[in-house]
Symmetry: C2
Subunit: 253 residues, 2 copies
């Protein structure tokens, strides 16, 4: 009998074309989030703990938290990889980490993610006790970045923008796309700040899902430009309902 | 002596992950435009008529027109390809076509594009007479879709939105990204219309480049919902300055 070991690490290769670069000719943290999500999804599918398996029990994975810590971002025409592994899980959620590396093996940064399994019908936490593959899939690999801190709503915003979620913001789940939340949040700082600074750490926690046509306020507050790093607190919320909260650090390039 | 024939066709393979789907679990026409641009760029580079060659003369390619005609769009978890070839060129511009095909070879649609070479310093048309590789690269392959019609400004808009271009809308050229223009234009129709209809033809012509912080009006007018296809006319413009004009057809699914 052949015993097939689960593939405890999965690597996805990427190449950054000019058409996908941001204004600094780099991969944006928003688009990195998209690649984190697709790398996670593919690995979960390969392990037999993906969408197809969870839906049998009426469950689905929902992204709850993302934490990035980057020394630098992939630049135009660069080949790079995302490697992911599962750090741990319990009956309600799993923790999955990533390393972003250049073609030559240079570490560009790390990402931590927390995924919650929910019962699709009740929108309540699922019970993953029956998904035995998860236990076999845990890797002993360590992730060197600090887990996400507790994120607080923005109490005294220095900027507030109103925004109505539009058709292009919606993903196949009929909710607002994670990429779009992060773009709206990073847009709370001007373009020039990103020319002189890069996002060295980005933490986001998702609370409620926003839908097409919903209006929200994007609030932000940041430390003065003379601090290094600049700390930005931001949230996207509607009257009484928080969609997501983020905190990020902008280091001088 | 070995004579190396130019590769007259170039094929780029894609896979549509869930994270990259729109609300209809398909590739959006905006993201297809991004893939058209990156496929064109790679082929031009391979032929020695890309950025590196043109910049030697102080020139650059600027996308002037795009025309899509699609029977259907790639759907979630589908492998598909974009194949491109040069139909013709003169000293000022080149015409490049594309076929989008499924893994089994089914034709999903075609795309026509027109690229103008400009002198970067003067922003005036370049003279491509010295770029001899272009003549060797022309393919005899035909593109079955009608070239772009003359697009007119929206005279009586039924909807007008004001929009200020933000940091996440800007590409490495420091102009607004083509993807974003198309998203803003397609957003002039409600999400529900895209559930019942798909964009069977999309034509866009670019006039002036928009920059970070510029404000624009997105104007649209469309035929009644009972027509099939629905015709949408849309433009993005500022007082007296047109950034782009588009016309698209929405066919019942």
């Amino acid at each position: 009998m052949k015993i097939i070991q689960p593939q405890r690490e999965y690597t996805h290769s990427y190449y950054l074309t000019a058409a996908r670069c941001n204004a600094q000719s780099e991969l944006s943290v928003a688009k990195l989030a998209q690649q984190v999500i697709e790398t996670a999804t593919t690995h979960a599918n390969n392990l037999g703990v993906g969408y197809e398996r969870l839906i049998r029990d009426g469950y689905a994975w929902v992204l709850s938290r993302l934490t990035f810590e980057m020394a630098r971002y992939p630049h135009m025409h660069e080949h790079y990889t995302l490697t992911t592994w599962i750090e741990g899980f319990n009956r309600h959620f799993s923790e999955r980490n990533f390393v972003v590396a250049s073609e030559s093996g240079e570490t560009l940064g790390h990402v931590r993610s927390v995924w919650v399994a929910i019962d699709i019908a009740s929108r309540r936490p699922a019970n993953l006790d029956g998904i035995t593959n998860l236990a076999d899939s845990i890797s002993s690999r360590k992730c060197p970045i600090t887990p996400q801190s507790k994120l607080h709503p923005v109490s005294s915003p220095s900027t507030t923008c109103r925004y109505i979620f539009d058709a292009s913001d919606i993903d196949f789940n009929r909710h607002v796309n994670t990429v779009r939340y992060i773009e709206l949040m990073t847009n709370s700082m001007p373009l020039q700040t990103y020319d002189s600074h890069y996002i060295s750490r980005f933490e986001i926690a998702f609370s409620h899902e926003a839908h097409y046509g919903e209006e929200a306020a994007i609030k932000a507050a940041h430390t003065t430009d003379s601090t290094d790093p600049i700390t930005v607190h931001t949230e996207i919320s509607d009257s009484g309902k928080t969609f997501c909260i983020a905190k990020f650090l902008l280091k001088t390039r």
